[in-house]
Symmetry: C2
Subunit: 335 residues, 2 copies
Amino acid sequence: MQQGKQSIRFEQAPRILGAASVVGEKEGQGPLRQFFDEIEKDPMCGTDNWEAAESALQKRAAERALEKSGVTRNQVRYLFAGDLLGQLIATSFGTVDLQIPVLGLYGACSTMGEAMGLAASFVDGDNADYTLALASSHFASAEKQFRFPLEYGNQRPYSATWTVTGCGAVVLGKQGGMAKITGMTPGKIVDMGYKDSMNMGAAMAPSAVDTIWQNLQDFERAPEDYDQIITGDLGTIGSEILVDFLRSKGCDISERHMDCGVKIFSDQDQDTHAGGSGCGCSAVTFCGYVLPKIQTGEWRRVLFVPTGALLSTTSFNEGNSIPGIAHAVVVETLM
Amino acid sequence: MQQGKQSIRFEQAPRILGAASVVGEKEGQGPLRQFFDEIEKDPMCGTDNWEAAESALQKRAAERALEKSGVTRNQVRYLFAGDLLGQLIATSFGTVDLQIPVLGLYGACSTMGEAMGLAASFVDGDNADYTLALASSHFASAEKQFRFPLEYGNQRPYSATWTVTGCGAVVLGKQGGMAKITGMTPGKIVDMGYKDSMNMGAAMAPSAVDTIWQNLQDFERAPEDYDQIITGDLGTIGSEILVDFLRSKGCDISERHMDCGVKIFSDQDQDTHAGGSGCGCSAVTFCGYVLPKIQTGEWRRVLFVPTGALLSTTSFNEGNSIPGIAHAVVVETLM
């Protein structure tokens, strides 16, 4: 059901039946270590290369989420999934064995928001009894895709973020479960002409502003109507820009804003600088840390807003800017 | 509404209100030249590089489709779009000016099927009054992304296809229009272990078999219930495999199968070998050639099945196979 100018209200409020988070060793040493389902110490996950390792993370997270939700692979009608790699190869090879029809998505690091929203829309519209949504990233496959060979040992400015190795997956259905998805605000692409690929938080912040602002308008809510407004991977710098920018529009989210990238690493101990990033960052933080708090009712209503930077090495090398996008989903407690 | 095991029936049958196809010079010299809305002779489309040129094709096709459908940019609630380039940069830069919320999709050359299906599901489920779906490819940006520098002048085996330069876009709504979308069969990833990237038709054919077969089962239809079963870019070799494979399952589509890749070029005159390919191939052939035939009632019901090869240069160089995927939509006449 259309809500306001840009949002959707899910009248049947699809349920999150189960969720799983599988992360790498560094994430397993961070402040959220106790919340993840699996911590994999081998960066190769027993495979030959980093891309296959990321695929392995997807497969494990999907299987674990199914197991935890008590839903079988055959019951899941459609999978909504994506990753950061060119042509989504982590997803293609990671999900082929599930033999569930796949709708491949690319929203850069906003993918988990896009996936959860679309997966919810299919359950809400009676197009599926059960759907699966997942997103992944891997530090080494992302460095290879976007930056420098790891062997080069490049220096990273303090504004840079660290790509999370991990995959988060949620199983959606119609009844029971841990929490409900009551709305979605798909985001517009916002291009402020920003070009520094070592400060992606700044590049993405305006898109988060745009989507959060629009969500509040569309649902006629104030920031206080959410217990938490949770961005994906703005990091410390992007988070500050977000809060300041919204404050200048008369909207103060400072008391209730959390960024998954800021939460997942401790820069002081882990040398991660501005925070974590990647599709996996918001996905595992949501599945491991956020969702249980909604389940217990500690947070009654949360706006989950993964943020993405829409660049490739080709667009960057051609001198293009870094447009941002942010897709929001509203998740509420059943308590 | 769920239909059978893997399909969706759109109860409100969203309408195609308008469509546009913008192609490059070579496509404009092919057998379908009279059917396209615009033929752009400059491979750069007045920009500095091929990626920007592909973005320009998207923008023009979107604007033309809006114009033809009589729908304004502001009325369109969501855009479903994708391309073949890493991190969907043709889409990010091609659609940013539309300022319509974007759901980025990657299904390789099956993207137009995925986009039309999702766009229809949003209209059908009352999540949008109007949606826009588009997909593009560009010969030169694809060669750069996947194969060799054009300057190298590599030889192409007869099994290879030629990436179509073009973008097709459709505007969907609830009433009126040219045709209706009555169903969708999202595809599974099918990996037969095939590894020859110079014969993608063979790599994709099994996924087309899977989706077409499942669509017929789910809707309890025989091939004769479709006037045409139209694959995206299997080319001559993949088409033969498809027809033979389905025949071995007792299903003869030979009398009613058409492949957009076979249709769009004349190998004899254009040296394109096995046919056209790319997201743009099925998108422009559907918008330019197929849709008008449905509109006039020449074809009453068509199964449109764009096919995708899920590889990247990274997966290929790592020795991986080329999984395929095919997403089908059912389009019917209003006559």
